[in-house]
Structures are given as C-alpha cells and as structure tokens.
Symmetry: C2
Subunit: 140 residues, 2 copies
C-alpha cells in the first residue's frame, strides 16, 4: 500500500491522485510549487519505473506543467527529481520568477518555506478541482 | 539549424547525438554529469515540445540514466530541467554521492567546476563509444 514519505507529508498539502501520481502542493507561498509522487511503485529513480509508468509519469508532469503555466505567473518552470533528502521518488515543478528570492539559483535547500494560510490553500484546491477534475481521482 | 547555446558550449564537451538530443558531458569532474539538449526544436519548456518529442526526450534520458548507473559510482541521480541561466531547453543528469561537496544540496550554482584533463575526457568518450554506439550518431 502506498504511503507518502513523512517528510513530504509534513511539507505539502495533498491535492488529488492522478492515475499514477499523487499531486502535492508544497506548503511554501514563495513559489507555485507542485510535486508528483508515483503511487503503487517502489522506486527511487525514474529509470527504475516500468516503461509504461515512466510514460505515465511524464504525461502527468506535462499536465501539471501546462496547468501551472496557464494558472500562475512565472518566467521559467523548474522540473527536477533530486531525492537527496527524501528518497521516495518525487518530481518537483516550481514556477520561477526573475524577482523571486533565489533566482536564478535552484530553490532546494534555500530559504525557509513561507506557509500558506487556510484561505489561500482552499483557493488553490478549488482551482485544481475546477481545472484538473478530469484527471484526478476522488482524493481531490 | 540547431545551435548549442554558447554558455552550454563553453561548459561542456559534446559526446554525440541521439535521435532527438545532443549528449554533453559537463566539464566538471566533481560529479558524473551529463546533459541532454533537444536539437531541431525551439522550446524552453519540456511541455512545449510536441508529444512525440517529449516521449523521445524521456526515452533518451532513461538511456543516459541507466548507463550512468552502470558506469559510475553514485548514490542518487539528480535529474533536472531548470534553465534559469541558459534558457535553451536542456536536461541535467547528475550522479550524486553522499560524500560529494554539495550533498545533499543541489549542484547548480554552487562550487566552481573542476575541469577534466584531456586523458579523462578521452576515457569517457571511449566509454560512450563502447556503450552507447547503438543510440548515437556520427558526432560521437
């Protein structure tokens, strides 16, 4: 049974389940920052996923990326699978602005997160429900 | 006609061409670090590639990742498309060790690169020729 890594659980808000991945919002209002975590698979590296799961991961990543580009304002999207701290395979999608606090450096391991308020989280959840309902399961 | 970004050109050694991407060695012996740059396409974000090119990019990424895992010693692979400094779409593959100088942080924008010597570069080129000839064109 799939269990989200406790560190990811603590740092994020669950938004829903794609066919393969759980969609998480990083609880840091500094950036629009979403994370995909493949469920039902034990892997720490993308290339260790079965071929079909790799394809599904990248399809879900493209859905998230396109949605982010039409929903939030940013200049560059950063996509990364690092896993140096949390080994459970997870894929970051971070919208970067040239005036954000860590531009042009990477976001990982930099500034402490600025948690969202309840209203802001609910607004993002509603946006996800409105835009991604066709892709996400009942967990949204 | 495809032209590699001058900054990427200066920082890397060209190893060959996959059907979609140019394979580059980052000229930094601190990490096994390879970069894929899609050719013949104008895009700064992965989701902007045509669907078939996205699939090809990820297939080539998996080839590189599996090859790195069997060829170099590292504890975790970091894969990332950032592009905050060089906007030409490029995908990093960095083998990380828990005793490397920036672990567990990201590699980008950290320590100055440690360039390879000529002999070490030739050794990696030979390894690429030996292992990836079936995938790469004449540029290797």
């Amino acid at each position: 049974m799939f269990q989200l890594d406790p560190r990811l659980q603590a740092d994020t808000i669950t938004l829903g389940d794609f066919p393969l991945c759980r969609l998480l919002l990083m609880n840091d209002l500094t950036y629009p920052w979403f994370v995909l975590v493949p469920r039902r698979v034990a892997a720490t590296e993308i290339y260790q996923l079965e071929e079909l799961n790799q394809q599904q991961l990248w399809q879900e990543s493209a859905i998230v990326a396109r949605w982010m580009a039409t929903t939030f304002e940013f200049d560059k999207l950063n996509i990364g699978a690092l896993g140096n701290v949390v080994s459970q395979l997870h894929l970051h999608h971070v919208g970067r602005r040239i005036d954000d606090p860590t531009w042009p450096g990477p976001v990982w391991g930099q500034h402490p997160p600025q948690p969202y308020g309840i209203v802001a989280i609910e607004k993002i959840k509603q946006q996800v429900r409105a835009d991604l309902a066709a892709y996400l399961g009942e967990k949204q």
